[in-house]
Amino acid sequence: MHVLQNLASTSSRRGFLKAGLASGFVLAFRLPVYAVNEPDQPPDSTEGQFAPNGFIRIDHSGNIALVMPQVEMGQGVYTSFPMILAEELEADFSKVSYVHAPPNEKLYANPFFQIQVTGNSNSIRAFWKPLRVAGASARAMLVQAAAQQWQVEPASCTASKSVVTHAASGRSIGYGELVDAASSVPVPANPQLKDPKDFTLIGKPLKRLDTPIKTDGKAIYGIDAMLPNMKFATLAQCPVFGGKVAHVDDSAAKKVAGVQQVLVLDNFVAVVGDHMWAAKKGLEALVVTWDEGPNAKISSADIWADLRAASKKDGVVAKEAGDIAKGLTEGDRYEGEYEMPFLAHATMEPMNCTVHLTPGACEIWTGTQVIARVQSTAAKVANLPVEKVTVHNHLIGGGFGRRLEPDMVESAVRIAQHVDGPVKVVWTREEDIQHDVYRPVYRDVISATLKDGKIAAWKYKISGSAIMARWAPPVFQNGIDIDAVDSAVDQPYDIPNLSVEYVRAEPPAVPTGFWRGVGPNNNVFAIECFIDELARKAGKDPIDFRRGMLGKNPRLKAALDLVAEKSDWGKPLPARVGRGVSAQPSFASFIATVVEAEVDEEGDVHLRRVNSVVDTGIAVNPDTIMAQIQGGIVFGLSAALWGEVTIANGRVQQSNFNNYRILRMDEVPKIEVHVVKSGEDPGGIGEAGATTSIPALRNAIYAATGVALRRMPIDRKALAVKA
């Protein structure tokens, strides 16, 4: 397969002089010897191309460039989107290439959100129809152009592999030759979409287009942006949230070789140098006194005390069915309270942003999930009209929700305001972990009654941050955060009397944001844990118990049945080894997972095996789906085992991978994912694995030890065998 390495580094694209050694010693050695590298974006003008919509660009040579409205962060969208487009376009898939979309909300807004955003596992769901229509209409126009040329009926022509053929006359013509003629064909309003049974690309486990350049160092992430005469900076924000710089002694820092500037910018200090090493060393040499402000005393204990108090209040009713008051008086009543900690994203690629500010213009190089927001943020800080800000998006070295925020752009532009020429701002890992936008702490309180072995009533109250209220204020209506209640208001079980309440409780000072799995991560955890506890009360097998309440959810029931089979559910296990199950319909994908784990005498947990069955509707690229679920499961297991950001004296106590532990090769179990064949519309897949694995592991521990953990991460002490 021929893949254009269009996101890879290219040399001298801007004709930058390579100041190599050949130029001799006279050239100042401070001059960097690298070439410019930046990702491809579609050219501003589409002249001479067939560009029927925002997504498709065909030139006279027949090269097809597809413009990606959603950004690639590992989820495979730079393969699945081209597959969908090429499927309907009948393009030769081996010859398509893709480019990052520029900021342009008219052309590239996510239909689910009306802004340019990659998140919430909805790239395929949101663009499934628009991309198919875009591909189909372009194909129809090309066919129409050929038919006109041949004076035949368009219906008598076929398109395949970038060629239109009129079988009756044996004539055929390539897309490249049709560029001009097709450009004047009107765009059809309702193009004929292909029948899924005729799909030749969709549903095949095709090789990803973005991976070859990720094996040889050529892929360019935001952190790899390189510009001539670029300087490098790193920063330290006040360790206490909301604090400011009081005083800086930079005498030692300025003596560090390669340090150019020390900037004191209100809430952070930055050091600008010839390279990151100089900047980093310079930063370490600064003696900064912080004005820690009012948050200097905040600790995790206070935050939890506040949240627990808030969760006692009445919430706003987000959903009600049946008669909850009556239902709660019937049968045996049980209570459960579940708590989720703050979590950092810890994307492998630390936060970074490169900025070149010139009078009247600003150019940005970064990898972001919200390119238009990056543009408007930069415009605001630089006090420029939005159109004067150019943003080059890049491959993302891990998003997980962190790059839904533009804070790294804001600080980088503020630094650039004091720097002559382009400056790349890279955060240290410590800064990245201590100044994240954290997955909020949540507390969920459930009261339920059991009658005749089934759940008669279920009163569920969620307390925690309303991320939406900050991130997308118009979406926050009537006191309900649709993210915080996601998967709670639409839980899958047949429960006659149901109520879901939400209490907005913002932690003081700690910024909160979206984290892989978003709202469902919290709610599926609480629901699936409590369901397991109720199953035990009812004296039922956890899978049977769930199956009995999935009458209106045949897809999830089928997934449960299959995972029971694949995981050897019910086969005997040694002492202190257990299997735990979790089922969820979140993100429009139906997933059932079984984790098998062992708990040793000291309470340490050892993972043995994971089986997951996923019905996500039409699987555009089944191999990517498997990979996403595998990876998501690992992501969730790290969080369940160890993930917690704690606060003391207003600051985050974790700082790097030595104290923010991530699952590693030698403790990852075998993970088998089974993708169910389905003709339903595609569901979301990027986050579901992270959501499903946490309760499944917790339930495995419950099965192994009888200890019903109710907060994450796992408390080893609670699991140790008491002496």
């Binding site: 106590q653 532990r661 590693r664």
Partner: protein, 442 residues
């Protein structure tokens, strides 16, 4: 109550018993030759600052002496203001907190007169007349000359005053009875200024002053007797202090530093690292970084001369140090799956499977005393707390893993590395790791 009184009586009797022992045997008693009052000594002045600073102003000289006496390390809490105190020193019967020694008048020592300052430093008596606990090493500082102590005071008073209340100690009865320290001091602290030994070289005398009066090496490296006083008959033979093992630094060939070259000793003192002998961590790292790293070569050599002169005492550590382990993970010690797991996750990247770091000599563990110590106290400590070294080339650090790994995992990796890289495998338990966590200053 009666029980407690009994405890005090027993302590006092024990102290009295130890008294004679001690009085006859001070920290420099091992040396031949006779001592003379400083004023009567004819050699180069062994006290004060090195020649290069002889003409410096009082504050500069005070700064040198303050660093040599290592005041900062105890009188600053992690992340706190310099000299403002607050470091917790955990003891089996509660915690002591170091005090604010900035010139703040309300919370620091801003109101101390010269005489009051000397009384505190040399005799362990505070301005209000209460007694200091010997965690403040006034039993060593007593040898500091008045002039030097007052130079230290001048330096401290030249720094910004920090208003920070002292924290209240949490010692349990009877240990919270500060008056009892009067007896302790009376019996166990010499209250005598440094007296040069005319039978030893000027270099030796300078080394003795640096080691005994200022750097107070013995406070960590000399074992203590039942009355908590230094047992100078086993001078520098190694002891456990604040959860760290301060190793035998006598010239014993096997368990001490007799096999080290003078250059290696000098390098260790001035850089906290000597080729093939590992890297200082914990309190020794702080003593190097905050103190000895700024000493000129003549002072370092004086220290080496002095160290070389103390009697060799054998201690229980293995005499032979293990050679590098094989490079292949499967060769060498392979037992202990959990220990291997932690090592391959968190340690191998820096320390290599051979123990000879491919990254930095500072990270080479082959040959280090700590790794060859089957008690493995320091290995466990450094895994728990990490270390941050401030070298002339910048910061060299090992991250802490105490909050990441469980007691069981830490015990396993400690036993794995002592087996793989040391001469004898340790047998640390999870319970011991839990206890060790409680002994470190914070």
């Amino acid at each position: 109550m009666r029980k407690i009184l009994l405890v005090i009586v027993v302590i006092l009797i024990l102290a009295a018993a130890a008294v004679w022992h001690i009085f006859i045997y001070g920290p420099m008693a091992f040396a031949s030759g006779s001592t003379v009052a400083l004023a009567d000594y004819h050699g180069a002045n062994p006290t004060g600052v090195p020649a290069s600073l002889a003409n410096a102003d009082l504050i500069k000289r005070g700064k040198y002496l303050t660093r040599a006496a290592d005041c900062l390390v105890c009188h600053t809490k992690p992340g706190g203001d310099r000299f403002a105190g607050g470091l917790a020193i955990p003891l089996p019967f509660g915690a002591l907190y170091s005090t604010n020694i900035t010139s703040d008048k309300e919370t620091g020592i801003g109101n101390y007169s010269d005489a009051e300052f000397l009384n505190a430093v040399q005799r362990g008596i505070r301005r209000d007349g209460t007694r200091l606990y010997p965690a403040m090493p006034y039993t060593s500082y007593t040898y500091i000359t008045d002039a030097d102590a007052l130079a230290i005071k001048a330096y401290l008073f030249s720094l910004p005053a920090v208003h920070q209340e002292n924290r209240v100690d949490t010692l349990a009865f009877p240990f919270n009875q500060r008056w009892s320290m009067a007896f302790w001091s009376f019996f166990l602290s010499a209250n005598a200024r440094f007296a040069p030994n005319s039978g030893q070289s000027p270099e030796w005398n300078r080394g003795a002053y640096l080691a005994e009066a200022l750097a107070h090496c013995g406070e960590c490296h000399t074992p203590r007797n039942l009355a908590f006083a230094l047992d100078n008959r086993k001078k520098f033979a190694g002891a456990l202090t604040a959860g760290w093992h301060a190793y035998n630094i006598t010239p014993d060939k096997g368990s001490g530093i007799g096999a080290w070259s003078d250059d290696q000793v000098a390098a260790y003192l001035s850089q906290g690292h000597a080729a093939n002998h590992g890297t200082a961590a914990g309190p020794m790292a702080e003593a190097v970084d905050e103190g000895m790293s700024m000493m000129p070569p003549e002072d370092i050599h004086a220290l080496v001369t002095y160290l070389r002169s103390v009697p060799a005492v054998a201690s229980s550590e293995p005499a032979t140090l293990a050679p590098p382990a094989p490079e292949a993970p499967k060769a060498g010690v392979v037992a202990d799956a959990l220990g291997k797991k932690v090592f391959e996750q968190a340690c191998a990247s820096c320390h290599s499977w051979s123990g000879e770091s491919a990254i930095s000599p500072f990270a080479t563990i082959t040959g280090a005393r700590a790794i060859n110590d089957p008690a493995a106290t320091n290995v466990a400590q450094i895994v728990i707390s990490g270390t941050q070294r401030h070298t002339p080339d910048g910061v060299v650090s090992m991250p802490s893993f105490g909050s990441t790994f469980s007691d069981k995992e830490i015990a396993a990796v400690v036993n794995y590395v002592t087996a793989r890289f040391g001469s004898e495998k340790s047998a640390v338990t999870a319970k011991e790791i839990a206890d060790l966590r409680k002994q470190t200053s914070y």
